[in-house]
Amino acid sequence: MSLLEFRDVTVDYASAEGPIPAVRGVTLLVERGEVLGIAGESGCGKSTLAATVLRLLPENAAIGGEMLLDDVDVLTMKWGKLRSVRWAEAAIVFQGALHALNPVQSIGDQIAEPIRLHKTAKDVDARVAQLLMQVGLPASRAKSYPHQLSGGQRQRVMIAMALACSPDLIVADEPTTALDVMVQAQVLDLLTGLVRDLGMGMVLISHDLGVLGTTCDRIAVMYAGQVVETGAALEIFDHPKHPYTKALAGAFPRVGDPAARYAPVGLPGDPPYPGDIPAGCAFHPRCPIAVDECTSASVALVDGVRCIRVGA
């Protein structure tokens, strides 16, 4: 029994011009103790997909398919059951931006909040201290306010908060994007180390294939709301098959220059606007090896790659 299973999940946002598809049929598995990376540029649907895990999408989003957490479909859960599942079975590590935390509450109170809500520990203060130590912060920081911490420290607080109720699954949405390079490495090591030590599963979302290549067991690459390639992390990084993955992997990150990571080497154009996705293979307008067939028929995921030009 997998820990997490996406079964043909679709997400459409209602709008004045009709439904806009953000996620178009994603099927993925995450096992216990496994780290799955989801890679892709902004707008490919990876953050939307992550939000479906705890049904955190806004009201105008229509979700289809199934999302199984420990074999129970989250998407059809009753509201009360969902609230008890949130954080206790699966938790999210958000980006540690300044306003991701309540500015007028101490971080100790904010970490304690889910513990008190789900009643997962008797001595709340001791548990908070333990969590802070696990992420490498002194227990005395519990009384600090978010604006008194650095970006890296706030990210650690986010991690401590996510671990508070000992969930089985962690979803980390771009946890290192806003951080300096050195701090990035520290936070990633911390995160993956804890996940392995505590035997949890993790979904790690990032636009940085380099980050994912070194920390994940498997990677799924998303483009325009679909998975275009999956496989073992090192395989994807060293031997990418899909033309888009090749472009992503080909962008060697320059140390200290975050902008370089955003631009895949030699790939013209921009990802399609979700309301205006090209027919056939969504990637064909930018693909260096596209042929006529690519513009008409929609392509299925075969052997972990969604491309008719890649041999089986």
Binding site: V104, L117, H147, D189
Partner: protein, 344 residues
């Protein structure tokens, strides 16, 4: 694990040590000083404005009034002194500058002393009621903008906000005091107490309360329109913040997200703005006390301007300005105390 602890130690520590009281005193002192400077300008303005007009200042003081020879002589003596000497006399005690109220022929501070408590009673009650009701409405409307409650309440409060408060008072008087449109007139037409009733007895207090219902209702309705619009706007801004998504992800119910996270943050600017709107409160008080003949500072101002009773007018202007300056100062200090971001 040791890698993590190394990492924690190696990072620069941005927590500033708790500020020593020296710096707190400096900030507070700075704000108090600015308040004093504002007040000084009010005093100077108050004094010189009436001396700016060409011609005999006595004319302004006695416009439309018939004073007897002795009063006139006294006035002339006071006004003939050199300007600087008059100014210093004024500054030494602005509420007793040696010139009596020209309308009542009594010292100015005596008149003010008599009228302070009715105003405090009326305004105090109205502000408290308006804050409680206004904030409640603002929260419910701001949390679900576009809902039926929001549309109805915002429409109502906008209309109230567009109303001249004295007109509302007059209409309430006609309907509930004189009786109109089928409603019997149950409330008194004006004043603070029925003549002859002893205000030191419980029955006396009830009598005062009965007189207070209509003017207080008028002011409460006007003030709560302002407060609820402010609270609503503040909460609408707060709803966009990311930490609310985090709170929801933790499993909190919508009501708890609102109460424990959104409202405390949105309340900070609202409370400050309530303090800062004392100027608006004062304006309402003057006209409403006039309509209801409520014997407070507002009615005193109206009586003074009808004269015009210059000494009394100057005194009430000064008093209202002091009140508003102090309220502004308190608002700034309060914000510094409550908001942890400012505290450190």
């Amino acid at each position: 694990m040791s890698l993590l602890q190394d990492a924690a130690v190696g990072e620069p520590d941005p927590i500033r040590a708790p500020r020593v009281s020296g710096s707190v005193l400096r900030t507070v002192g700075g704000k108090v000083l600015r308040a004093f400077i504002t007040l000084a300008f009010v005093v100077v303005f108050n004094f010189f404005l009436f001396r700016l007009l060409p011609g005999d200042p006595i004319g302004l003081y006695t416009r439309g009034r018939n004073q007897d020879a002795e009063q006139l002589a006294e006035l002339r003596r006071a006004l003939d002194k050199p300007i600087l000497e008059q100014f210093l006399t004024y500054v030494r005690n602005p509420f007793d500058p040696g010139i009596d109220s020209t309308r009542f022929s009594r010292p100015v501070w005596e008149m003010i002393g008599e009228r302070v408590w009715p105003t405090l009673l009326l305004l105090g009650t109205a502000i408290v009621l308006a804050s409680i009701i206004g904030i409640w409405i603002g929260i419910r409307a701001g949390w679900k903008p576009g809902s039926r409650f929001d549309k109805t309440s915002t429409g109502t409060t906008l209309t109230l906000y567009s109303m001249p408060e004295f007109w509302l008072g007059m209409m309430l008087l006609i309907v509930f005091s004189v009786g109109a449109f089928g409603i019997p007139g149950l409330f008194p037409v004006g004043g603070i107490v029925t003549p002859g009733v002893d205000t030191s007895t419980p029955l006396g207090w009830l009598n005062v309360l009965w007189h207070m219902v209509l003017p207080c209702t008028t002011l409460t309705l006007i003030y709560l329109a302002d407060y609820s619009l402010v609270m609503r706007a503040s909460l609408i801004d707060e709803r966009k913040q990311e930490y609310l998504a985090l709170a929801r992800a933790k499993g909190l119910r919508d009501v708890m997200v609102r109460q424990k996270h959104a409202v405390p943050n949105a309340l900070l600017p609202t409370i400050t703005l309530i303090f800062l709107s004392l100027g608006f409160v004062v304006t309402g008080a003057i006209t409403v006390e006039t309509v209801f003949s409520w014997p407070g500072l507002g009615l005193l101002t109206y009586e003074a301007l009808r004269g015009p009773d210059i000494p009394l007018l100057q005194a009430t202007f000064l008093l209202f300005s002091i009140a508003v300056i102090v309220a502004n100062l308190l608002a700034e200090l309060l914000y510094a105390i409550i908001d942890p971001r400012v505290r450190s």
